[in-house]
Each structure stands twice: as C-alpha cells, then as structure tokens.
Amino acid sequence: MSDAAPKAALCVCNLRKAYKDVVAVDGLELEVRWGECFGLLGPNGAGKTTTIEICEGLTAADSGDVEVLGMRWSADATELRQRLGIQLQETQLSEKLTVVETVRLFRSFFRRGPEADEVIALVQLGEKRKSRVGSLSGGQKQRLALACALVGDPEFLFLDEPTTGLDPQARRQLWDLIEQFKLAGRTILMTTHYMDEAERLCDRVAIMDHGKAIAAGTPRELIASIGAEHLVEFSAGGAARALDVSALRRIEGVREVRAENGNVRMQVTELHRAVPALLDELDRQGVPLTELRTHSASLEDVFVILTGRHLRDE
C-alpha cells in the first residue's frame, strides 16, 4: 500500500506457458491501461484463452510476471477475486436453477455489489427472472454469465469470447452491455476472433499468433500500419490467357498485388484512381472480370498481411 495507484491495470511481462505438446504462450508482453477496453485477437489456438486464464489466476504460468490492479496472484488472490469480474469461455451454469437463484448465488460470494435484481435488470433478463437456466437461449445464457461477472461490482472485467456462437442480434445486445460497462470507466480485457467486435469495442488490441503478440495498438493504428486504406479483390479465373500481374503493380496507388488461383488481391491507397486504371488495364489485356470487390482495410486484413493466413482458417 506504499505506492500510489499502479500505472497500468494489468501488466504481463515475458509470460510463458507450455502444455505437454504445445507452447501456448511464448514470451508475451501486454499492458492494459486503466479504463480501457483491451482486445486480444487471434485465431483459435493462438494462446488467447491461456493468457486470459493466467491473468484471471486460474492457470499457473511457467514463467513471467503478471500484475493485476497492482497486485499479484501469489500474494493477494482473495482480494483480487473480490475486485475482478470473470466470464469464462464455456461455463454451463446449473440448468435447474432459475436466473435469480443463479445471480443470488454468485452475489453471495462478494463483499459488495448491486442487488441480484439490479444486475438482472441491467442485462435485460428481468422477464426471465424466474425461468430455469436450461430454458434460456444462447444469448440469454451469455447475458446471465455476464450478470454473474458483474455482480461483485468489478473494477476489471475479463471476457473470454463473449459473443462466440451468438446470432447477430444477440451479439449487438451484448456489445451494448459491454459498452455501458466501459462508459462507467471500468477496465476490460477481452478475447475474440471477431474483427468487427474488436473494432467496435476495443480501445486497443493486440494480435496474437502462436503465443506471441505480433502487433499491438489502436485498431486505427494497426490498420494504418499496413499502409493501405483499401483492398480490391477480383477474380479473373475465366481468362483464356494468363494475367500479367506486373502490369497491375505499375498502376498508380497500388502497393501490393497478390494473385492466387486466378483470385487477385490488391492493397490500394487511392481507390478512386486505382479502380478505373485497373479496369482499363484488364480491358487492354483482354481479361474478362468475373467479380470485383473493394472494402476498407480492417483488422482482418492486418492479420492476413502479418501472417499470410485468415483468422478463422484454424
């Protein structure tokens, strides 16, 4: 208690964890600032869940240092448990209990926090108060899990893939709830493999691959770091003659061209100049265009460009 408030809500330093046959976390460095929502992105198996469970004090690290709210699990586990809200990836709460019984059970473990009914209202399960957990939809179950994480009025919320497996409407509902928590000035660490989720909710993200953070920053910084604002993809699979890719590279504003099996992907800075020039060039080469798509660069593109793989491939 001698120091002032610690500089970061979470500091992870040179974290390592290996299971029998695989290194899950390999020298990870992270810092989550007070009051921000930090996203760990990456494909399945990148080490996101292992990392978040070490930060939650549920898994022991092989080496490295983890400091949460200025405390360490080895010394202050009881105090930390009181101040953290945790949602695990695949908990099945008891199906035979009702919503209110479940929340009251979790509420009883915490020194302070809102009444069970307040939290139930917050996650919009008021009408399902007396329903059995087994009868809830996937989105409702996930909101109940969030209620159980919020019931101790936590300073720091850990969410492990909070919307995986939910339909779009249920995801948006959950995003709204997470944003409300953010607005109250609390800190969040979440994992996800949905790029749209990270772009919408997270102030900063770290992209994880094979147990390491391969990039970190605000979503905007990461997208800017690949040096292209737009991506153009087209298909020229039906062409009788091979496409001359080098000619495409010479078009103004095109930074990189990658061609695979007749599908071409170009990184472009100025879409309004590059697309007409592209169409002219294809016309000159006599290559018929079967499909043309453009989109603004996203975190997904950042991942693809950094690793050469898509996020959901694995």
């Binding site: 939650e56 004090g57 549920l58 009881t78 448990r81 009181q82 945790i86 695990l88 695949e90 908990t91 099945q92 709460l93 008891s94 035979k96 209990l97 019984e101 009251r104 059970l105 979790f106 509420r107 009883s108 473990f109 915490f110 020194r111 009444e115 159980c148 101790g152």
Partner: protein, 346 residues
C-alpha cells in the same frame, strides 16, 4: 428488501442450490426415497411369515375322526374306505387312518412325502392321547414370530445401510463430476467463494436430506411391518450421520478426479457393487467363508448394517457397536484426507 442475512451467506446459498438441484430431479427423489420403500414392501411381502399349514387327512370311522380332531393342526374328514383311498391317491389328503382288527389303527400315506410323514406323527399322537397315553415329560411351545426376528426385521436395517451408501456416493459423485465437466466448478473458483464452503454445502445438504431419508424408510417399516427400533433415537442419529459422512467422503474420493459422468459411474459401481453383495444387505454376511470375514467386516457398508441391526433389533448402545464405529471413522478419515489431496477443481 427484507431478506434475512443468513440466506445471503455463501454457505446458505450453496446449500440451497444443492437442495434445489435435488428436488428438481425427479429421478433422484425416486431412487433416494421411493425405491427403498418399494424394495422393503416387495421383499417384506414375499418373505412374510405364513401361519403354519394345516394338514388334510381322512378317517374311515367316526371314532377315529373324533380322536384325530383333537389335534388342531389336522383337518380331518370322514370318508368311506374307498373314497379315502381315492383322496389319498389324488393328493387331496396327506393320509388316512383306518381301524384294523384288535383295536389297532392303520395309517395309509406316502412316506416320501414330507406332509405324509408329518401327518403320520400328528395323527398317531392324537390317537394315542385319545386312548389315554400320558406324556411323562411336560412340554410347551414358545413361538419365534414376534417383531424383531422376522426377515423384514433383518432386511430393513440392510436397506437403510444400502440407502445411506447409495445416496451419499451418488449424490456426491454425480453432482461434483457434473459441475467439473460443465466447467461450473472452474467458474465458481474464479469468484471469491471460499472453496471449503463448496464441499461443506454437500455435507450440509446430505445431513438434512438424511433426516427425511431415514425417517421415510423407518417410518414405513414401523407402520406397515412393525419393525422395531429398540436402541435410542440419539444413538441412531449418531450412527446414520457417521455412516453418511463416511460414504460421502468415499463419494468425494471417487469424484475427486473423474472428468466424465461415465468414468464416475463406472467407479461408483465398482466400489458399491461388491458391498451390495457381501455386506449383508439381503442375507447374512456370515454365509461367506470364514477366511473372508475380516475383509468383509472392514467394509463400511458391513459396519453400518451390523451396527444398525444391533441397534434396532437388539437395542445395542453405541459402546456395544464401537468396533463398527471405528471402522466407519477410519473410512471417513482416510477417504477425506485422500480426496482433499487428489481433488481437482477443473
């Protein structure tokens, strides 16, 4: 909010959860409360003590019939010689008595038929006594048919012991393995819940259910079959609680590592099945060879059942069942210590 404080205590909430999960599982109610009563009722009826059979015999003369009717265990019919012969041949009577010259009596019966031989003894006794025979040794009968020595009296403590074991091991094992499999246990230890409260809630719920469980079975036995409970109620409570704790610890040990319901139920059956057979639930454990007896007596179910039988049927005090209490105490301590060492929360 006018909620009472005790209900918001984590231990109260965890114990309430145990109850809710139990009551909302109809199968559990059936196996714990109804099945043992059905078993007791079925076996009690099947092995009920029948009144002794009355033997049908025939007599050829009125005088003989009158003498024979002195014996209450004989149902005597007076028939003609031919009809009596016919009745014997078709099995309607076990014997017939006919006069023979010189005041003698001839008994006609099949000596390979036990009923025939029994009828021969009873009939001859009646005829001799009617003719003035005096028995030099006075004798009287005291029948063993009072409550406390029938099969149902033997059976009920056995069923009670079996029920204590089953509900503790199943109740503990399934709930814990299920919570581990669903990662509910991992979710709970991510909260500030004191871990020993979680295990303690199982014990508390078990002890409260025990009152109902023992009450239903013993109440049924007393009401329908007049099965006695001769020892003190306090001693009975101590016995049941100690037994249930020992089996709960065993259940905890079985559930300490298993990750799937299948693995856990396999283990539970492996542990319980031999005890159902050798521990004297349905028949005396004494029927097994003497060399096995020390091992059988060291089993927790044998200890519980022996102690319950001694208590209920002979009114034994706790001091008289001290060896059984010792066996249970050892099982409780060893299982609980091992279970805590092995237990995995995830």
């Amino acid at each position: 909010m006018s909620r009472t404080r005790w209900a918001d205590h984590p231990l109260a909430q965890l114990t309430l959860v145990r109850f809710r999960e139990f009551w909302r599982e109809p199968e559990a109610i059936f196996w714990v409360f109804i099945f043992p009563v059905l078993l007791a009722a079925g076996l009690g009826l099947a092995f009920r003590n029948r009144p002794p059979d009355v033997l049908k015999i025939a007599a050829v003369t009125p005088e003989l019939a009158r003498s024979l009717r002195q014996e209450k265990l004989l149902d005597v019919e007076q028939l003609s010689a031919a009809a009596a012969e016919e009745a014997l041949r078709t099995g309607k009577v076990a014997l017939f008595a006919a006069p023979s010259p010189g005041g003698a009596v001839v008994y006609r019966y099949d000596d390979t038929n036990p009923e025939g031989r029994a009828a021969r003894m009873l009939a001859d006794q009646a005829v001799e006594r009617a003719a003035g025979r005096a028995d030099p040794v006075a004798s009287s009968d005291r029948l063993m048919r009072e409550p406390g020595s029938r099969y149902i009296d033997f059976l009920l403590p056995g069923l009670l012991g079996m029920n204590l074991m089953g509900s503790a091991i199943w109740g503990m094992g399934f709930a814990i393995v299920d919570a581990r499999r669903k990662k509910l246990m991992k979710r709970l230890i991510a909260t500030p819940m004191p871990r020993h409260y979680y295990l303690l809630s199982f014990v508390l719920a078990r002890l409260l259910l025990l009152v109902v469980e023992v009450g239903v079975l013993l109440g049924f036995g007393a009401w329908v079959f007049q099965v006695p409970v001769r020892g003190s109620m306090l001693d009975l409570a101590v016995l049941c609680v100690l037994g249930s704790l020992a089996f709960s610890a065993l259940g905890l040990l079985i559930a300490s590592r298993a990750q799937t319901i299948e693995a856990a139920s396999g283990l539970m059956n492996t542990v319980m099945m031999p005890m159902w057979i050798v521990s004297g639930v349905f028949f005396s454990a004494q029927r097994f060879p003497g060399a096995l007896q020390p091992a059988i007596r060291a089993l927790p179910l044998t200890a519980v059942i022996d102690a319950l039988r001694a208590h209920m049927l002979q009114g034994a005090s706790l001091a008289q069942v001290a060896p059984q209490l010792g066996v249970l105490g050892v099982w409780l301590l060893v299982s609980f210590t091992l279970a805590l060492k092995l237990f995995r929360w995830r």
